[in-house]
């Protein structure tokens, strides 16, 4: 109910303009938004960062989970340590290590590329990979469990190679949880706010940053622009989630 109210409130704000004592319904904010090149840049930048952060997190999580699947609880607990650390705190750590003049440069010399506040958003991607890869690895390790190890051993006894075991035993087991986890991560990054504010570039902006700036730049239609931009971010998350679920479906319907 609260979420429905929130979305209805955002939709109402995006098509309403306050004039004198009354309000008028207008699509002016949506027209302004769709004509603004900075908004198009923000959409592209946000989607690119979300896709990259999710893909790298998933790859790192798979690697960690495959390495730790036969290991005990202490190693798994070590791998999960970044999970309770707030995103903003990881962003602070990224600035301390990776910003110009940061610890990485002091230890290794000048870095070949800018990693914080760079136009490509590498810093944002790195923060999310550090935070989300352990979260996804936990999901994968929970899915792997004892049953998968037994199936893997059975396949090995039947002569399956390492690659065949990965393709026909491990992948079908982890695909579902991995897709669900990736949807959550991608949606989280699409709505990213404090991390890009801390380590992202001044331009292009992520969608949430664009929405916040709209309220500061334009007092008349700023709130409507903000609401419209955030609705686009919400719609992008939902579309991406639906697409991911469809893509992940097995051709045989599993």
């Amino acid at each position: 109910m609260l979420l429905g109210g929130a979305l209805a409130g955002a939709l109402r704000t995006s098509v309403t303009r306050v004039e004198g004592d009354g309000e008028t319904v207008t699509l002016a904010a949506w027209r302004m938004l769709l004509r603004d090149p900075a908004f198009a840049d923000a959409v592209l930048f946000t989607v690119r960062i979300a896709v990259l952060a999710t893909a790298f997190s998933a790859a790192a999580a798979l690697l960690v989970a495959l390495t730790l699947r036969r290991r005990g609880t202490p190693l798994r607990a070590l791998a999960a340590l970044p999970v309770p650390v707030p995103h903003l705190l990881v962003a602070v750590v990224a600035v301390l290590w990776l910003a110009p003049g940061g610890l990485a440069e002091r230890l290794l010399g000048a870095l070949p590329v800018d990693l914080v506040r760079d136009r490509a958003g590498v810093g944002i991607v790195l923060v999310y990979v550090y935070k989300e890869a352990p979260f996804l690895a936990l999901l994968l390790l929970a899915a792997m469990g004892r049953g998968m190890l037994e199936r893997e051993e059975a396949a090995a006894v039947l002569g399956a190679t390492r690659w065949q075991r990965l393709r026909w035993v491990v992948w079908p087991t982890v695909r579902g949880p991995l897709v669900v986890g990736c949807i959550v991560v991608a949606a989280f990054v699409l709505g990213a706010f404090e991390v890009p504010l801390a380590v992202g570039p001044n331009a292009p902006l992520m969608l949430a940053e664009y929405a916040q700036q709209a309220t500061q730049n334009d007092l008349l239609v700023g709130e409507s622009l903000q609401a419209a931009a955030l609705l686009v971010a919400a719609a992008a998350s939902i579309v991406l989630a639906v697409a991911a679920v469809r893509l992940a479906k097995d051709p045989q319907g599993d």
Partner: protein
Amino acid sequence: MTERWSPRRLVAAALAAAFALPIGVLVVRAFADAWRAPAVIPQRWGLRGLREALSGMALDAFANSLIVAIVVTVVAVALAWPAARVLGERRLRHPALPFLVLALPLLVPSYATGAGLTQWFLRLGLVDALPGLALAHLVIVLPYVTVVLLSAFGPPVTALEEMACSQGLTALQRLRWVTLPAVRPSLAAAVLLGFLVSWSEYGSSLAVGGGRPMLPLVLLPFVRSDPQVASALSLLFLAPAVAALVLAARAARSPL
């Protein structure tokens, strides 16, 4: 390869370093009054960061964030319990739609949720108030708590409860002696996750808070302007998260 450098130890060392090195620098930076490049070790140690951090709105922000996170977690668990029970025990014939509605807040950016709620909260006088912040956080926290909690319920817990019922235990006794111990690990994980999500929430706090200080909002401007104060505030930010993790890990030990 000797036992000292076994693969297990190497993996453990790599994982521990990946966590401890980045976080450890926070502690060093918080107490480094002067740390100019290219020095790897601070030139002067001191408490300027802590003094600056604690002289502003940080303590108010800490209290606000803590109150909201605790209230939201308690309310979220109370609301999620029946929903998780129904979904976990697979009592619904078509669970997909309720599950989708429940999980939808995970897909909507929290800043969007906060900005949308602000329109209604302005009329209700809930903007710039802790109850308004708690309600906004609740929208975001509830799906996380429900999803984690529903993994606790299922045939094994139901069987235990039926056994207890046949032994003549009242509903309250069953909850106290059977259900709560059986679901304790998942409940602890749900409480931990709920607390952490609310504790670190930025977007909805900014939208609904109306300038009321919350810890993430107070911390962010220092990231660009004063890394030492940002590091000191980060330690303040990290402490309850670590405490919640330790408490949850202790509570998760199920006696059943």
